[in-house]
């Protein structure tokens, strides 16, 4: 099949960038979207042009590296899929496609379709962890976890941090990502010691990175390749509101903790 590709080309973080039109022939419908771009890049390289930069690693839909906008939709037209798992059979022969990087102040474009998502790492570093003693792991069944809690935590933990939620949100909000990370640990007994501090710190960091606020629109949930639910944002709100009013510094003088 044949495709017309309008791709965002940008030399580096400081250059302006713009759409460049390419025509690509001989696309196989069994190719993944990234394989299709590999073919394009091969042709560009042969012509001595700069290949299109995009991020990828596992190409199995599990690492969260890949992702860009296809015709204004994060990860393209197929629901519950990363671009690496999106196949060309979902497109028509002769179709014109528009590829753009995620756009958010917190995700600066480094080159072409590649953005810097270190803001997510800093949010995780602010509180997306639990404290345990290293050494031999304790027996898996010593801590009882209710089944429905384990399942909800697992659903939240499915988040691969690809950034599609931010990209699709009209406010460039990271609420679904942060909500998933806060939920994942708040639902499990292992996450309890840092529960309040985690909610406060991760939300504060999210704000410091200049992500927008949630207006409960739901575009994030729709494009999430892992089906992370909006309910996680409500849980984040709950956790944050509770923590903001109930949190007490451990070192606080007088009274019980």
């Amino acid at each position: 099949m044949k495709l017309v590709l309008n791709i965002w080309r940008q030399k580096n973080q400081n250059s302006r960038g713009g759409m460049v039109r390419y025509e690509l022939d001989g696309v196989n419908e069994h190719m993944s979207f990234l394989e299709m771009l590999d073919v394009l890049n091969e042709q560009l390289t042969e012509k001595g042009e700069d290949p299109v930069t995009f991020e990828h690693d596992c190409r199995e839909g599990i690492c969260g590296c890949c992702g860009f906008m296809i015709n204004g939709v994060a990860h393209g037209p197929h629901r519950g899929t990363t671009v690496c798992q999106l196949h060309m059979r979902h497109f028509r022969d002769g179709e014109e496609l528009w590829l753009e990087p995620w756009r958010a102040a917190a995700f600066p474009v480094l080159k072409d379709l590649l953005v810097d998502r270190a803001a997510f790492d800093r949010i995780i570093a602010a509180g997306g962890f639990i404290s345990v003693n290293t050494g031999s792991a304790q027996d898996a069944n010593t801590i009882a976890v209710q089944k429905h809690c384990a399942e909800l935590a697992m659903d939240a933990a499915a988040c691969i941090g690809c950034g599609a939620c931010v990209a699709a949100c009209p406010n460039a909000s990271a609420s679904l990502f942060v909500g998933a990370k806060i939920s994942h640990l708040a639902l499990l007994p292992q996450g309890q010691p840092e529960r309040s501090r985690r909610a406060l710190n991760m939300v504060a960091q999210m704000q410091q990175e200049v992500f927008g606020s949630c207006t409960n629109i739901g575009e994030c949930e729709a494009v999430c390749p892992k089906g992370v639910k909006l309910e996680n944002i409500a849980r984040m709100n709950r956790e944050y509101i509770k923590a903001a009013w109930a949190y007490r510094e451990e070192a606080a003088a007088g009274g019980g903790g």
Binding site: G72, R103, A126, Q205, A234, N237
Partner: protein, 241 residues
């Protein structure tokens, strides 16, 4: 690095409000108050359709007189509403500037919404329309400022309402503004629960449906009055206090 909300009283409230989630919580609570007022106001308005009492007093005038006879309640409610409007408005503007200016300085060449409703994407614009409409409405039928409503007579609620809405331009403006209000509430009613962290896979879909129904009720309820005046269904003859 990140800061934490510690400390007590005012500092804690301030840092809560500083957060985007805190602002949304404030918007949810004030939105709830304003929504409650809108419902009561609509019920009050619908009295325009009641028949005139035997003594010649229209129920709407009677209702207005009753409210004015309780200044502490009336002014208490007005102050609460004013504070709610200010908080709702300021938080909305602050969040909107963050979302529209700072968080995404460079726009997409192409962006295609796939599930979001028109109502949810236009909250700030709808809110601004409602804000200016409310100012106009207060000048028009509550305060009765001469330059907005020359025929206004203090205390004659029914008469003011009918004469005020007999101007088709005004009546149509009222209807448009109330449709905008209904659209705002279509998203706003369920959204306040989500902002406060109240969500459940079983109840949230019901809540969304309830909020759609309430939005329709409010839209139709409010629009019915100017429409009735415009079509001559509700006429001047009714009320003299």
């Amino acid at each position: 690095m990140s800061t934490m909300a510690v400390g007590g009283g005012l500092t804690r409230s301030a840092s809560f409000y500083d957060s985007v989630i805190g602002k949304k919580a404030v918007m949810a609570i004030t939105g709830f108050i304003l929504f409650g007022f809108v419902l009561v106001h609509m019920a009050g308005n619908l009295q325009v359709f009641l028949p005139v009492h035997a003594n010649g007093v229209h129920p709407l005038d009677e209702y207005g007189a009753k409210l004015r006879a309780m200044p502490p309640l009336l002014w208490g409610a007005r102050i609460v509403l004013l504070v709610a409007v200010i908080l709702h408005f300021v938080a909305a503007i602050q969040l909107s500037l963050l979302n529209k200016r700072q968080a995404r300085p460079q726009r997409y060449v192409k962006l295609a919404p796939i599930v979001s409703t028109y109502a949810s994407r236009t909250m700030i614009w709808g809110g601004l329309v409602i804000f200016f409409y409310v100012i106009y409405h207060l000048l028009h039928l509550t305060i009765g400022a001469r330059f907005v409503n020359p025929t206004f007579e203090e205390g004659h609620v029914y008469q003011n309402l009918v004469s005020g809405l007999q101007n088709p331009v005004v009546a149509i403006f009222y209807m448009i503004a109330n449709i905008v209000l209904a659209i705002h509430l279509y998203h706003g009613i369920w959204s306040m629960f989500q902002s406060l962290g109240i969500a459940h896979p079983r109840y949230t879909p019901i809540l969304k449906r309830v909020s759609a129904v309430l939005a329709w009720v409010i839209g139709i309820g409010f629009c019915s009055v100017p429409l009735a005046v415009l079509t001559g269904f509700v006429k001047m003859t009714g009320g003299n206090l």
